[in-house]
Subunit: 208 residues, 2 copies
DNA sequence: CCAGAACGCAAGCAAGCGCTTGCATCGAAC
DNA sequence: GTTCGATGCAAGCGCTTGCTTGCGTTCTGG
């Protein structure tokens, strides 16, 4: 790993910890095991280093939804679990980026674009799902997807500071989000209209 | 307004703008029209000033839910609209506080506690609502409330930076969240089980 | 063998930081 | 009328900030 990469990794870690103002060039250089002068020789300024460090981060894991829904509950659950894990792992970076966004607008778009792409994948899947479900008529698919997305986001961002607001225990939260989501678009396994290979109404939530 | 109040207000404004590290004592004193020395004489340190400035902010408006649901759609809509407005007005402060939380843990709890209280009010209302609705059996009320809450939070925090993820237009978003929420707990106006004085399925969303 | 790029090191610069000191001013209380 | 608490003002303390300069070392390609 050359000095560029070392500095980018260190900058990403320290930025996630203390934000833009807290991430001093001396500290980044120390953590990277590189001389501070080299930092400026390679990146020109602190702003460019950090912008590059943020923008090179892969915002999401490799989870994806199939084109044709087969087992919606399982597929959505896997997708949401992957998304939630990715959000939790990037929690610190996301928090700092949202706070620094007004002062450094060139730092956030990469993260947001990744989120939007991911969201569109969910909407497309859900639309195919309700299309396959003739009895569903008046669902607001886009809003349901938005709420599911916000639930995962809020959970990842807020559970550590106000746990009472989110479903307990943490391990079962994703499943409950998906269940509630399916119910809101009228495709719940427990709904009156016949469902897929739906499992029981609250699967494997663990001890409350 | 005495110097204490002037400093508290200035500190709150500047903190919302640039966070803890960016809010320098010189800038706060200037914006308050007070000498910097007076700041230290009154508050002792920058940390105490800002902690007091954050903790004295009223986190929520005066909206509240009635004990007995009468017109759930209207009551929830009013409550959510008020909550959303309050969140949007405090958006900058909330973002900065979430980012600074790990370094200054004594600064966030006040905001979080206000949110939790508000959330509990929603849960209690929703539980009375489904209790009044005998045909509803297998709703996950807590999770539905959590998702509604997260939807309002995510909308207030994220719409300005990734608008595609949230329902359009902004003015109609709250109504759609409430509709979807009611549908997820099985009390939708368009549900098969008879509803209250429910209005049409998508009331007054405005031009799409 | 040697030019040149990449890098480390020591030092420093101007600016800003939180915070303190010393002193003059001023209005109210006794 | 005098004391006293609250405030402003000028100056400065020690430290950190982003960033630069100058120079010596190491390695590599021709």
């Amino acid at each position: 790993m050359d000095n560029r990469e070392k500095l980018l990794h260190a900058a990403g870690r320290i930025y996630a910890e203390v934000g833009f103002r807290g991430a001093t060039t001396r500290r980044i250089a120390d953590e990277a095991g590189v001389n501070e002068v080299t930092l400026f020789r390679l990146f020109g300024s602190k702003s460019q280093l950090i912008a590059e460090a943020i923008n090179c981060q892969d915002p999401m894991g490799a989870v994806s939804l199939p084109r044709i829904p087969v087992d919606p509950w399982r597929e959505l659950n896997d997708w949401c679990a992957g998304h939630a894990t990715a959000l939790r792992e990037m929690r610190a970076t996301i928090r700092k980026t949202m706070a620094d966004l007004e002062e450094h607008p060139d730092m956030g778009p990469h993260l947001c674009r990744g989120q939007t792409v991911h969201f569109n994948e969910l909407v497309a899947y859900a639309q195919r799902l309700v299309a396959l479900h003739p009895s569903v008529r008046d669902a607001d698919v886009a809003t349901s997807c938005s709420m599911l997305f916000s639930a995962l986001f809020g959970d990842a961002m807020g559970r550590d500071i106000m746990p009472m607001v989110y479903p307990q225990p943490e391990e079962g939260a994703t499943a409950r989000y998906v269940e509630t989501f399916l119910r809101s678009i009228g495709v719940a396994p427990s709904s009156a209209s016949g469902a897929w290979s739906a499992t029981s109404s609250l699967p494997a939530v663990g001890p409350a």
